[in-house]
Structures are given as structure tokens and as C-alpha cells.
């Protein structure tokens, strides 16, 4: 077995002392992808709700795109977890016999609630009228398919559209705490492990939540630019500037929270501090200081901060936004990496470190992680073809009472 072989190799790279069983990093890159992808979902949804609930009109062009992005990533969000299991075919046990004291057991339900009740329902109500119209226009299989998607509801009266709008609004209102729950909960899975001082902090759910928002917003920003480019349309710069503004604000909150966590850790300097200091300065130096903080926070914050005061020409601004969205996405990926992998590199004996080598070629965890990151883009392409936001009927005006 090549896995055992790589463990023998790792055995030669142990620094200091680790408990013998700690050599194998049980949570590999797939578990890095899990909070990453879940975070993208929560963040993209929050961006959609900014338009719907908080009535930020400038974000209208990205509303459907945000929802479909959230759905595409949501559909694969559990796959890294399931493919990582030692017994993948037993995953359903978590749903039929959940152990209620386990933080992980409830994830299945939080996930299903979010997927079924929030995302699918919201998208359905948002597209119902359009799907009825499309089912009338298309022929053959597609006619049947759209009909099936409408669940054979064919009401196109203005009253029905108003009802759709109202229910959709209500679902979004429910969806915001749900999105918070979804990702705060993922943070709790790590934050509640008292055995691991790198994870065990009450800040973890909050930090996960805000980093999720940051990454989701950056993802929608990236996808919006790429999709508009591919469609050879003109980008709505007002929308893009507004997204960038929110990205800037939430990035500030996220960075403040993460700094608070680290400052607290450094100032308290409890028994785990010495080993964590060596960890961060040594094995995590590149991924923490360079990638997570440098690429993921400092560059975007400085650039976006500059743009709040001075707006360069549209062409340059577009390029900046495009690069910044990638920087943020990379930075948040490394944030997840530092949590998941970093938390397993040091020994719970506080006397040493194990190592983790990414096998770029042939490593099943890397291949699968890449797969689960790429698949959502294909799902999104399909969804955009099936439910193109740009072909939707103009929204119906609801007179204010």
C-alpha cells in the first residue's frame, strides 16, 4: 500500500517527539476542501440576500448568479467528506442513526435543511414563472423537462408572481440565519475539539463564518466577471464596485476577528503556546504568513481600500477586481489549510511535529479535492444554461402598502 509507504517516509521527517499514532494525518486535503466549499456556499448566499433582504439594488445583476453558484457548490459540499471516510458506503448511518452529542452528526441535517428548504425552494420560487414561460416556448424533451421543474404548476397570473415574490423573500429571511448556521456550525466541528489547542477556540465558528462570506463574495465576483466576459456582455461596474465594497468591509471584520484570536492566544500564552509558536513560524510560515495573510488579506485589503478613495479607469478596475477575487479565494483556501492541516502537524504531547507532503501526482486526496472543486463549475455551467438569469422576465413591481 502506497499510503503505508508514505507513512514510512513521514517517519523519517518527524521533528522531536509525537505520539506514535499521530504520524498519519487522518484529515488530509479533502477535509480542507470541505469547509472551503461549504464556506463558498454560505458566502454566495449571503451576497444574494444582501440584494433581496437588505434591498441593495446595485447587486441585482448578481442575484440569480449568486444563488446558482451557491447551489452548484452545495450539491458537492458533502462529497469531500464522504470520499474521505474509511467506509464511504456507510455514510448514511450518520443520517439514520445520528449520535446527538457529536457535532458532526448534525451536519447532515443542517446540510439538508439548507439545500432543500432554503436553496432549492428559493431558486424554485424565483424561477417558477420563467420556467412556465420557457415550458411553453420549448419543444419536445425540454418542454417536458421545464414542465417537470415547475412541478406542473402553470399559473402565470400577476397574483401568483406576487405570491412567489413574497414567499421567496420569506425564504431568504430564513436563509440568512440558516447560512450562518451552516458555516458557523462547520467552525464548531473544529472549535469544539478541546484536545487540540490550535482548533479549540470559541472564535472558530465566527471566524469560519466571516471567512466564508469573504470567499463566497469573491467567488461570485470572479464568476460574474468570467460569465459576462464569455457572454461578450458589458459588465455592470456599479454592481462590481458594490460587491468589492462589501468584500472590503467583511474582509476587515474577518481579519479583525482572526487577529483578535491570535493576539489573545499570544497574550495568554498558555501551555500550548510554545509549540504553536514554532508551528506558525516554521511549518506554517509559507501557508500562514505569505498565503493566508499576505495574499489573502493584506494585498486585497490594501487594494480595495485604495479603490474606496480613488477609482481608476474601468479597464484597470476590472483587472484589479479579477486579480483580487483570485487572491481572496486562494487566501481563504490557505486559511482552511492552516486550520485543518496545521492542527494536525503538531503533537498533542507538545513535544514535536509530524509532516504532511502533498503528492501532487498520484495522491488520491489531491486528485479528489481538485475534482470536487472543478465539478461545481460544470454544474454551474449546466444550471446557467438551464436557468439563464439573463433570460428571466423583468421582476414584477409590488406596490407598497
Amino acid at each position: 500500500m502506497d499510503k503505508i509507504q508514505s507513512l514510512y517516509e513521514a517517519l523519517t521527517k518527524v521533528d522531536g517527539f509525537i505520539y506514535p499514532n499521530e504520524l498519519a494525518l487522518n484529515w488530509d486535503m479533502l477535509i480542507v476542501m470541505y469547509p472551503y466549499i461549504t464556506g463558498l456556499v454560505a458566502g454566495a448566499f449571503i451576497l444574494a440576500s444582501l440584494n433581496r433582504v437588505f434591498d441593495i439594488k446595485a447587486l441585482r445583476p448578481t442575484y440569480e448568479l449568486s444563488l446558482l453558484t451557491a447551489l452548484s457548490f452545495m450539491l458537492v459540499a458533502t462529497m469531500p467528506l464522504i470520499t474521505h471516510l474509511g467506509q464511504p458506503l456507510r455514510f448514511y448511518e450518520m443520517l439514520i442513526t445520528p449520535h446527538l452529542t457529536s457535532a458532526m452528526a448534525i451536519f447532515g441535517f443542517v446540510y439538508l435543511w439548507y439545500l432543500m428548504v432554503v436553496l432549492l425552494l428559493e431558486i424554485w420560487f424565483d424561477y417558477r414563472y420563467d420556467m412556465v414561460i420557457w415550458s411553453r416556448e420549448k419543444k419536445g424533451f425540454m418542454k417536458f423537462f421545464y414542465k417537470a421543474l415547475t412541478l406542473w404548476v402553470s399559473d402565470t397570473s400577476p397574483e401568483s408572481r406576487k405570491t412567489d415574490e413574497k414567499i421567496g423573500y420569506f425564504i431568504t429571511v430564513v436563509g440568512i440565519p440558516s447560512a450562518f448556521l451552516l458555516h458557523g456550525y462547520v467552525g464548531f466541528i473544529f472549535g469544539s475539539i478541546k484536545a487540540n489547542p490550535w482548533w479549540s477556540t470559541v472564535m472558530m465558528p465566527v471566524i469560519f463564518l466571516f471567512s466564508a462570506m469573504v470567499s463566497g463574495i469573491a467567488l461570485v465576483m470572479f464568476i460574474y466577471m468570467v460569465v459576462t466576459y464569455l457572454r461578450k456582455q458589458k459588465i455592470d461596474m456599479n454592481a462590481l464596485d458594490t460587491i468589492a465594497k462589501y468584500l472590503f468591509y467583511i474582509l476587515i471584520i474577518d481579519f479583525t476577528l482572526e487577529s483578535l484570536d491570535q493576539i489573545h492566544r499570544i497574550y495568554e500564552a498558555d501551555e500550548s503556546f510554545d509549540i504553536l509558536k514554532i508551528l506558525v513560524r516554521g511549518k506554517l510560515f509559507f501557508t500562514f504568513f505569505i498565503m493566508q495573510i499576505g495574499v489573502g488579506v493584506v494585498i486585497p485589503l490594501a487594494t480595495l481600500g485604495f479603490l474606496q478613495f480613488k477609482k481608476p479607469r474601468v479597464r484597470i478596475r476590472k483587472l484589479i477586481y479579477w486579480i483580487i477575487s483570485i487572491c481572496v479565494l486562494v487566501g481563504i483556501f490557505y486559511m482552511r489549510w492552516n486550520v485543518v492541516i496545521g492542527g494536525q502537524l503538531f503533537s498533542k504531547s507538545f513535544y514535536g511535529f509530524t509532516s504532511y507532503k502533498v503528492n501532487l501526482i498520484g495522491g488520491s486526496d489531491v486528485t479528489l479535492s481538485l475534482l470536487w472543486f472543478i465539478v461545481p463549475f460544470f454544474i454551474l455551467a449546466f444550471l446557467l444554461w438551464l436557468l439563464p438569469p439573463w433570460k428571466k422576465a423583468p421582476p414584477i413591481e409590488i406596490p407598497e402598502d
Partner: protein
């Protein structure tokens, strides 16, 4: 045929909901910590196992670790153990050196010259069978559980191999079996205890450094061990209520 429709009034709805909510509150009053701790010490007179290890008596021969591997089909590789021995060496210049080559199965070598050693000792490690075990608490399917005798066990036919318990154990006592894809750990040789036999590590120890027994029985070997020695547990600050008690535990040991 007429459709019978049950007529629920709002009053019924409020009544039913408040009964349900009241029931939940009442249940949580009866057993308020059920969701916090995976298990609680049974009040009955059943057995409640604890383990004692006398560090003064351990000679670092590794027989316990070897016996455990053979008895429990633990993979031979030097990074899967249910039971292992650590060697601590504290030098005159206050460096702490710890090692456990192959879990101590092949014995130990002391790389530090005698004149530089301040003190040195061996610490055998195994599952602490905590009364508030963090590992069974986090198992998403309940495959890791505590037996009524207070032993943390795994139902391997049910374990999904997520590794969450491995992360939750503060003592590094669990590993994922590479062939079975499920978690494995010390059971205090539950299969032997059931037959009235001693655990393999206890049998193999040549110096009697290890004892185990019923903590509820004040005349059991472990109860007497606790009475006669000043014992400590590992990482008491984590409040796992470990039931593995060490005599002469040095503060350097984590």
C-alpha cells in the same frame, strides 16, 4: 366516499406544542448533562474499570506493547499502536528528550551519556478509558461508545472511519486501521475480560508495573494501588476524568 378531515383548532396546536416543549424542558431537567457528557458513571454496583501504572516499576522492556500487538492484531507498522512505551530523558541542562521507537517494542537505546542525564524514566501509554471521554462524545454515528463497565469501545462493523474521534482524543490513543478503514483502539482486552482473563499487557508485564480492576470495589488491585500511592492522571486540565492513574508521574509527561 367522504374524506374525513381532522379538525385541528389553534387551541389544539398550542396545546400540543406546549406539551412537547414542556416535555423537552422536563427531560432536560431530569438529566441536564446528558448532551454534555457521553456517559456518566453508573450509580449501580456493576464493575467500573480503572488502570494503574507504576512508573517506578517500568523497565521499558516493551513487553506490554508487543503482547498487545499480537493479541489484538494491531498492524505491525511502527505508527499504529493500542499500547506503547515512551522514554523520557531530562538532561542536566534541562532539555527534555522523549522517544518511542517502534512504540518501545524493540527496546530502547539511551543516546545521552550517563553523566549528562539528570533523570530518565519510562511511561507506558494506553487508552485512558476516560469517564467523560471526548472521543465517544464526538462519534457521529455512536460506533464509539462506553461500555457499562466504563471502557471506551468501538463497534467496527458500524464505524464509518471519519477520524473525528482520533482528533478528539487528547492522548493519541486511536488510529485508523489502514486495511479495515475503521478506527481501532485499546479495549483493555474486553474479549479477555469477558472470559475472566487478564488483559494481554497486564499478563506480559514482568515487573507488575500495571494493575487494573474495579474502582467500585475498594479491595481491588487498582483501588489498593490508588490508596497506597500518590497518583496522577494525564492532562487533568481537560477534565476527561481519565481512569488511567500513574504513580510517580513526572510533570514533564504530557
Amino acid at each position: 366516499m367522504a374524506i374525513e378531515k381532522e379538525n385541528f383548532s389553534r387551541r389544539d396546536f398550542i396545546k400540543n406544542s406546549s406539551m412537547f416543549a414542556g416535555g423537552v424542558v422536563f427531560a432536560s431537567l431530569i438529566n441536564p448533562y446528558k448532551f454534555v457528557f457521553a456517559t456518566k458513571q453508573p450509580k449501580g454496583k456493576g464493575k467500573w474499570y480503572g488502570i494503574g501504572i507504576d512508573i517506578e516499576k517500568c523497565i521499558g522492556c516493551g513487553s506490554c506493547a508487543r503482547a498487545c500487538k499480537i493479541e489484538n492484531d494491531v498492524p505491525d507498522d511502527p505508527f499504529f499502536f493500542r499500547n506503547w512505551v515512551e522514554q523520557y530523558t531530562i538532561t542536566n541542562d534541562e532539555r527534555i528528550l522523549v522517544s518511542s521507537p517502534n512504540g518501545g517494542i524493540d527496546g530502547f537505546k539511551q543516546p545521552v551519556p550517563d553523566e549528562d542525564i539528570y533523570k530518565t524514566f519510562f511511561v507506558p501509554k494506553m487508552c485512558n478509558h476516560c469517564a467523560k471521554s471526548p472521543c465517544t462524545q464526538v462519534c457521529p454515528v455512536g460506533a464509539s461508545f462506553e461500555s457499562p463497565e466504563g471502557l471506551a469501545l468501538v463497534d467496527q462493523s458500524y464505524c464509518i472511519g471519519c477520524g473525528y474521534c482520533v482528533q478528539a482524543c487528547p492522548y493519541g490513543c486511536r488510529y485508523i486501521d489502514p486495511l479495515k478503514g475503521v478506527v481501532d483502539k485499546c479495549t483493555l482486552c474486553y474479549h479477555r475480560l469477558e472470559k475472566g482473563l487478564d488483559p494481554a499487557c497486564m499478563m506480559a508485564c514482568p515487573t507488575g508495573a500495571r494493575v487494573y480492576g474495579d474502582l467500585n470495589d475498594k479491595n481491588s488491585a487498582v483501588s489498593l494501588f490508588l490508596k497506597e500511592h500518590n497518583c496522577a492522571v494525564l492532562k487533568p486540565q481537560l477534565n476527561t476524568e481519565s481512569k488511567l492513574f500513574y504513580n510517580d508521574l513526572s510533570q514533564e509527561v504530557h
